[in-house]
């Protein structure tokens, strides 16, 4: 089955076949009846529309229940501009796309502060309100009577840049647009944007720890998805020529969800197959039309249980998130890990008087410490002594009740986690937070997210500069993989690998963010002897590079050979600071670990 999948995936990914398919459709369309050509146009529009859900839900993990609203904004915007104001379609459609995208961006404004389900509910409300606005705004949308007479290909009233466009020409145009959209969505998936979308989808905390802001990323996903849906709507408007509010109500939002889910979230080819299926079925099968609503309801209820990855998951391999072109280019490059040396020789981090209270519980009580470049500080203490909480405060997951964190001459107390990471303070977690479906290489490249210098547009268009930038970072990833002994498993999905490997990958990912300060929360837990050896070497390398390192661990032998300073916490308070030899003889430390009597014995 997997062999078949990989063969099919290779087939649909082959650009020669893609070109052949588009050319064949362009050339073959005149042989079909006008009715079939029109249905084919509907299929393409549905496929574009489904891509908007694919972007939003498949990649970024957000759910929209009102996508008909974006579709409708696109349709009415170009419809009104072209019909009422006499604009050319080549101007009307881009404006429609822009407006729909802007709406998506505005609608998702609380993405930063509320649960994702709030956004889903807002989209449901948005869909309802859009429908009502269209129905009531007689002057512009024609109200319940609708907007007839939009220049349309089916009615042969459409001219583009002075040229008459009939149903056939319009189909060919939409086909080219569809191919373009697919190409861009694929590029986006395999770019920094796609990786960021997927990272916030599966773990916002992991994404934040390497500098990817969850709120802004979700907003971008809503904006892009809105824009693509708007494009589908705009193309629809100039196909049918009549816009009525009923075309943009809840059933259309439901339909596109069904198409996208059955097609398989994440799979571009699956969406096309599904769009074809669900456009032709009601057209050809009267019985289906009658049971449509019930069928859609059942599909949405059970599809995630029965066929969670849809047609796409059945036929094809899961999508990958690195451009093959960038990978090929990277193979010709050599990079040295020394390139990850902190800028300007490193900077110290100072935490002063940090206190963290949860209700009545004082988890961290007035702890101060300083992390110097090129020094390893161990943070030890019994379970529940506040070590992880301290790291959480420093890295912006919690806002401290009192105290200050200063780094590189500025106060970073209370900054969001992604801001702290972007400033150069990066951490790993007690239980590794990785992106499960990503390969090891993809996970590590995600670490370099903030180091990529090309912008989103270059990424989506796959401009040469973007590919070169990605290739350079991939070469660095290769170097870190070698350093962490992960080269052999680089292309395996990380959730298929043992715990120790995942830990090493997480440390590697943190290093690729090019931090000045790195905080490692129990990196050696669960590692084998050999892996621990590797990790020690990796940490020593990082020290030599001039990173300031905080290391939480219980394993004293492991720490003894590594660390310069030790800080011991007990019940949130700092009870010892100094070297490791002194710690072993310190009565307070012994009491904390073994109980009071042992200390007096």
């Amino acid at each position: 089955m997997n062999a078949l999948r990989s063969r099919l995936s290779a087939l649909v990914a082959d650009w020669r076949l893609q070109v052949l398919l588009v050319v064949a459709l362009l050339a073959g369309a005149p042989l079909l009846s006008p009715g079939t050509v029109q249905i084919a146009s509907f299929v393409l529009i549905a496929a574009i529309f489904a891509q908007s859900i694919n972007l939003l839900t498949g990649l970024a993990g957000q759910i929209s229940l009102g996508h008909a609203g974006f579709f409708g904004i696109g349709a009415y915007c170009t419809g009104v501009l072209v019909k009422t104001h006499g604009l050319d379609m080549t101007l009307g459609v881009p404006l429609a796309v822009l407006l729909a995208g802007l709406t998506g961006w505005l609608l998702s404004f609380p993405a930063n502060r509320v649960r994702d389900v709030y956004l889903a509910m807002m989209t449901l409300g948005f869909g309802m309100v859009f429908f009502e606005v269209v129905r009531e705004w007689n002057g512009v949308t024609g109200g319940t009577m609708g907007l007839p007479g939009v220049p349309s290909a089916a009615l042969r009233t459409l001219t583009i840049l002075g040229m008459k466009v009939d149903g056939l020409r319009y189909f060919q145009l939409v086909l080219l647009v569809t191919a373009g959209v697919m190409l861009l969505v694929r590029n986006l998936t395999q770019s920094r944007i796609g990786r960021a979308f997927y990272a916030i989808h599966v773990s916002e905390i992991a994404a934040g720890s390497i500098g990817i802001p969850a709120g802004a990323t979700k907003q971008l996903a809503y904006a892009l998805s809105g824009a693509v849906a708007g494009l589908a709507g705009a193309l629809y408007a100039h196909l049918v020529g009549y816009l009525g509010p009923e075309s943009f109500a809840l059933p259309r939002s439901i339909e596109v969800l069904v198409i996208a889910i059955v097609g398989g979230l994440g799979s571009i080819a699956g969406q096309v197959l599904s769009a074809t299926l669900f456009t032709f079925l009601p057209e050809r099968l009267q019985v289906f039309a009658e049971w449509q609503f019930i069928a859609y309801g059942l599909i949405l209820t059970f599809s995630l249980m029965v066929l969670p990855k849809g047609i796409g998951g059945l036929l094809f391999l899961p999508p990958r998130f690195i451009r093959p072109g960038a990978l090929a280019r990277a193979a010709t490059l050599r990079a040295d890990v020394a390139a990850l040396r902190p800028i300007a020789g490193g900077t110290a981090l100072e935490a002063e008087g940090i206190t963290m209270r949860f209700g009545g519980l004082v988890a961290v009580d007035n702890v101060s410490l300083r992390l110097e470049p090129g020094r390893i500080t161990a943070l030890v203490g019994p379970n529940g002594s506040g070590k992880s909480t301290f790291v959480n405060v420093v890295t912006g997951i919690y806002k401290p009740s009192a105290g200050q964190v200063r780094f590189a001459g500025r106060d970073i107390t209370g900054l969001a986690d992604h801001q702290v990471a972007a400033a150069g303070v990066v951490r790993t977690f007690q239980d590794p937070r990785l992106v499960p479906h990503f390969t090891v290489r993809e996970n590590l490249l995600l670490g370099a997210h903030g180091q990529l210098r090309h912008n989103g547009i270059a990424a989506v268009l796959a401009l040469p500069g973007a590919t070169a930038d990605e290739a350079a970072k991939l070469a660095l990833v290769e170097a870190v993989l070698a350093l962490a002994d992960l080269t052999e498993v680089a292309d395996r999905p990380i959730d298929t690998l043992p715990y120790g490997t995942r830990r090493m990958a997480e440390v590697g990912r943190a290093l690729l963010a090019r931090p000045q300060v790195i905080l490692l929360d129990e990196p050696a837990a669960g590692l084998s002897e050999a892996e621990m050896e590797r990790l020690s070497q990796l940490i020593r390398d990082m020290k030599a590079m001039g990173l300031a390192i905080l290391l939480i661990d219980h394993h004293m032998d492991f720490l003894a050979e590594l660390v310069d300073d030790v800080v011991v916490l007990d019940s949130g308070r700092m009870i010892y600071r100094g070297d490791i030899a002194g710690m072993r003889g310190d009565p307070q430390v012994i009491a904390a670990y073994l109980g009071d009597e042992a200390a007096h014995a």
């Binding site: 839900t57 993990g61 957000q62 759910i63 229940l65 404004f109 609380p110 502060r113 509320v114 649960r115 994702d116 389900v117 709030y118 889903a120 509910m121 807002m122 449901l124 409300g125 948005f126 309802m128 309100v129 009502e132 606005v133 129905r135 009531e136 989808h201 599966v202 905390i205 809840l250 439901i254 969800l257 889910i261 979230l265 049971w291 449509q292 609503f293 019930i294 069928a295 859609y296 309801g297 059942l298 599909i299 949405l300 209820t301 059970f302 995630l304 249980m305 969670p308 949860f358 992880s388 959480n392 997951i397 919690y398 977690f429 499960p436 479906h437």
Partner: protein, 296 residues
């Protein structure tokens, strides 16, 4: 006071109390599973439609309502077992339940349209008729409105008491804070979750009957949009707070009726939506809620 204003105010308070009931239903499942049924509106519709159907078969109205509530409660169990639990279990995207609960709502709506027809049908009078009224301070006050208000407020208070005073209520509280910890403490989390969905569905059913009573008719599309109004009420009051739900519901009800009366009835959803936007912009934790502390 101006008659028109007063009647709008009263209508707003009545429907607002019902929105609060819906919000409470959403809160209940939010407590136990951090999920809510996006197809809740279809349960409201189904309960009202079944009441119409059963009473048309010669059953006493009170019995018809009771029977419908039993059906809706059973559906609540079904929803938990077949749409929410599998979605929560599956790894990866954690929001599958939004789609599956909405899907089930759509299915029920489609089914109702198929078997009861998509036309609006008259809803029978449960206690009073639309013509019954009393006079308060010289104003006509519809008895139906008063009954709706009384039932809604009584249910909300009962639920609040239940959560605060009983062991089960404490257990719900424990589960909402930390389900795993609650489980190892010996709280029957599974049963509690199932119960919360049943109760949530019953609340939706009651809300459906009450709204149908005020409106006079039901059709298959009825109620679908009311989830939004209930959600807005819940968010305004602070997700998870019962008294907040009541305050939020009244606010949404009164404002939407006033705007509906003085501006346009089509603006009701728009107002609710605007309130939601405003609340999320200014005070995402709502009037009575506390900001959520995320656990790393």
């Amino acid at each position: 006071m101006d008659d028109f204003f007063f009647s709008l105010l009263l209508a707003g308070i009545s429907v607002g109390a019902v929105y609060a009931l819906i919000a409470l239903g959403l809160n209940l499942t939010f407590w136990t599973t951090k999920t809510m049924n996006f197809g809740q509106g279809s349960l409201m519709m189904l309960c009202a439609m079944l009441t119409v159907f059963l009473s048309s078969q010669g059953l006493a109205v009170a019995l018809a309502v009771l029977g419908s509530l039993v059906v809706v409660a059973a559906l609540g169990m079904f929803i938990e077992h077949w749409t929410v639990r599998p979605a929560l279990k599956s790894s990866g995207g954690s929001m599958g339940w939004v789609v599956s609960t909405l899907g089930f709502g759509i299915f029920l709506q489609g089914l109702a349209a198929k078997y009861f027809g998509s036309q609006a049908v008259a809803f029978p009078d449960v206690v009073f008729t639309a013509q019954d009224f009393v006079t308060v301070f010289g104003q006509y006050v519809s008895l139906q409105y008063l009954v709706v208000l009384a039932v809604a407020v009584a249910l909300i208070l009962a639920l609040e008491l239940f959560v605060r005073k009983t062991v089960w209520g404490q257990a719900v509280h424990a589960v909402s804070l930390d389900p795993e910890l609650a489980l190892v403490q010996g709280i029957p989390v599974r049963r509690l979750v199932l119960l919360s969905f049943m109760l949530s569905s019953v609340l939706a059913g009651v809300a459906g009957v009450l709204i149908a009573q005020i409106g006079g008719t039901v059709d298959p599309a009825f109620g679908f949009d009311l989830v939004l109004l209930g959600f807005v009420a819940a968010v305004l009051g602070g997700m998870g707070s019962s008294l907040g739900a009541l305050a939020g519901g009244l606010l949404v009800g009164i404002l939407s009726k006033l705007v509906g009366g003085y501006v346009s009835t089509a603006a009701e959803h728009g107002i609710a939506f605007a309130l939601l936007m405003l609340a999320l912009a200014l005070r995402p934790q709502g009037l009575f809620g506390k900001p959520e502390v995320s656990k790393a």
